[in-house]
């Protein structure tokens, strides 16, 4: 019967739309794929065990690694977490649980503005506040700069996941005669814990690759850092200084560093996905 079949022009239109959508999706994925392949091709050769364990060699000498930079990055991230996580999470708790409509609007606006501030500005701010005052570049300064970047990020994601927790749980807890703050900590935050953790991980992944704020706070170090009040090496910093150098060997190591950095961030994102799936199943 004529009515049961698609008219042929509608079929063509559908196919065309599907194809356009597919091409657009490819366009989105293409840059990531290109970056990955390029990094692999240039850097895979230089990634070796010594890359992870040896300090940079002096200028002109071949070989060496980025052990101090990799470790330094982790140290900086630890400090950043110390600075950024409490403020961010508690800020998110305020927004979700305590804030009034007016104060929340203001806070969210400020957080969104801060999220858009170029990261080098944070470096400058911390330079003025900490580096100049203590008259030295330090890991603390670098960690603080990264922490500042993390605060508005964590605040927003924490707020979001807390708002996802159904009101029924808060009501049930309060109806039992449990005080407000205990309700928030032991019921609401506990329920949203995975979400809060993924928010923190995402923020860490974001700042792991920041170079500009570290330029004049952590400053970089060709040796191991023994005192957090001293300058410290970081992977992005090392990549930067090797990349602008005239030495081929250093160029190759820069590629390797970039590859390692991207793989680290990639792994964190996968971890986040895994955790997120479980969290959704639990809360719903």
């Amino acid at each position: 019967m004529k009515n049961n079949q698609y008219p042929s022009w509608r079929k063509t239109k559908s196919a065309l739309a599907a194809m356009i959508a597919f091409v657009c999706a490819l366009l989105v994925i293409a840059p990531l794929a290109l970056v990955f392949f390029h990094l692999l091709r240039e850097g895979a050769g230089a990634v070796s065990w010594s890359f992870f364990t040896e300090l940079p060699k002096p200028v002109g000498v071949a070989g060496g690694g980025m052990a101090n930079a990799i470790f330094g990055s982790f140290q900086l991230l630890g400090l950043a977490a110390l600075a950024g996580v409490p403020a961010g999470v508690l800020g998110g708790v305020y927004l979700a649980e305590y804030g009034t409509v007016r104060s929340n609007w203001l806070l969210r606006f400020v957080a969104d503005v801060l999220n858009g501030v170029p990261s080098i500005i944070w470096g400058v701010v911390v330079y003025g506040l900490v580096v100049l005052r203590f008259k030295s570049f330090s890991a603390y300064a670098g960690g603080l700069a990264l922490g500042f970047i993390m605060i508005p990020l964590i605040m927003r994601t924490t707020e979001e996941v807390l708002l996802l927790v159904p009101t029924g749980y808060r009501e049930a807890s309060l109806a039992l005669g449990i005080s407000r703050w205990k309700t928030i900590v032991y019921v609401v935050m506990k329920t949203a814990l995975k979400g809060i953790v993924t928010g923190i991980l995402l923020a860490l992944a974001r700042v792991a690759g920041e170079t500009a704020p570290l330029l004049f706070t952590a400053f970089g170090n060709r040796f191991w850092n023994h005192d957090l009040a001293e300058p410290i090496a970081a992977l992005p910093l090392q990549i930067f200084s090797y990349a602008i150098s005239p030495y081929d060997d250093w160029h190759r190591q820069a590629w390797a560093g970039a590859l390692v950095l991207v793989v680290m961030i990639f792994l964190v994102n996968i971890l986040v996905r895994v955790l997120t799936r479980e969290r959704l199943a639990r809360v719903l």
Partner: protein, 285 residues
């Protein structure tokens, strides 16, 4: 038209004349000497400018089941929640009047709502056991988070609460399993166990069975009946047959006002107010 509740000695008359009978108004077995659980005095509740409850005056009898019925939007949930100050979770509320619980106004300025809510528990329409906790932890959360540490006491209270909620036999071997792994009816009974574990004096129930199938509903209704031996129960329901089955007293609310309050039998067989009659016979609402 009132039936005379008089008891006269039977007249000594010839067998052909009929004797005067006692006309009784079927009141449930209320002990009039027991102090009421709540005395609501001219209570008005405002959400911003809107008046949700308008001058309600009510006496909730102790250790009885009182049902609050009325069409949607009449304020029954608001009234229920005002009995343990849960309506204050909505911002911008204002209260006029008093709610006397055990003789004292729960809205007095020096009264801590947290303490009130330990004495007046609440069960909600949608069962909400905490998802991150096991069955045992769910039941005991009210006690644990309020500082009770004695493990023997906790264990005993756990069993007692689950037994009273008619859930012990079904879960006694699975106490470590997550609270959300139970069926809908069981979850609701778990929430009831959780509420009674803190040993309140009153249980407020906001349409506790409306999300459940008929068998689970029947179990909840039976449970409510058993609970009324130890607790005052106030239940909001939009199901009038449920109000008729479950409660001893019924209050009919309409547009925030209390239209009629009386024994359930009277309300459902011969209400005084026209509007009550029209609502329960399904002529409006």
């Amino acid at each position: 038209m009132e039936n005379a509740v008089t008891i006269e000695p039977p007249m000594i008359t010839p067998a052909s004349a009929p004797q005067q009978q006692v006309a009784s108004d079927s009141e449930p077995d209320a002990a009039p000497e027991r102090a009421p659980a709540f005395e609501v005095e001219r209570l008005s509740i405002f959400y911003g400018e809107k008046k949700a409850i308008d001058g309600v005056a009510l006496t909730v009898p102790s250790k009885m089941i009182t049902a609050i019925i009325g069409p949607s939007g009449c304020g029954k949930s608001t009234l229920l929640r005002s009995l343990n100050r849960m309506h204050e979770l909505v911002p911008n509320t204002r209260v006029e009047g008093k709610v006397l619980f055990g003789g004292e106004d729960i809205y007095a300025p020096d009264v801590d709502p947290v303490v009130i809510r330990r004495r007046i528990g609440m069960v909600f329409q949608k069962s909400n056991p905490f998802p991150t906790m096991s069955i045992a932890d769910n039941v005991l959360v009210g006690l644990k988070l309020n500082g009770v540490r004695d493990r023997a006491f906790l264990r005993e209270r756990l069993e007692q609460s689950l037994r009273m909620a008619a859930l012990w036999d079904e879960v006694k071997n699975d106490l470590h399993k997550p609270g959300v792994s139970l069926s809908g009816g069981q979850q609701q009974r778990l929430c009831i166990a959780r509420a009674i574990a803190v040993e309140p004096e009153v249980l407020l129930m906001d349409e506790p069975a409306s999300a459940l199938d008929p068998i689970a509903t029947a179990k909840i209704e039976e449970l409510i009946h058993e609970l009324s031996a130890n607790y005052t129960v106030v239940i909001v329901t939009h199901n009038m047959q449920q109000a008729g089955r479950c409660s001893d007293y019924t209050a009919f609310l309409y547009l925030g006002q209390l239209i009629e309050f009386g024994s359930t039998t009277k309300i459902f067989s011969n209400p005084t107010e026209r509007r009550t009659e029209d609502y329960i016979t399904g002529r409006f609402g």
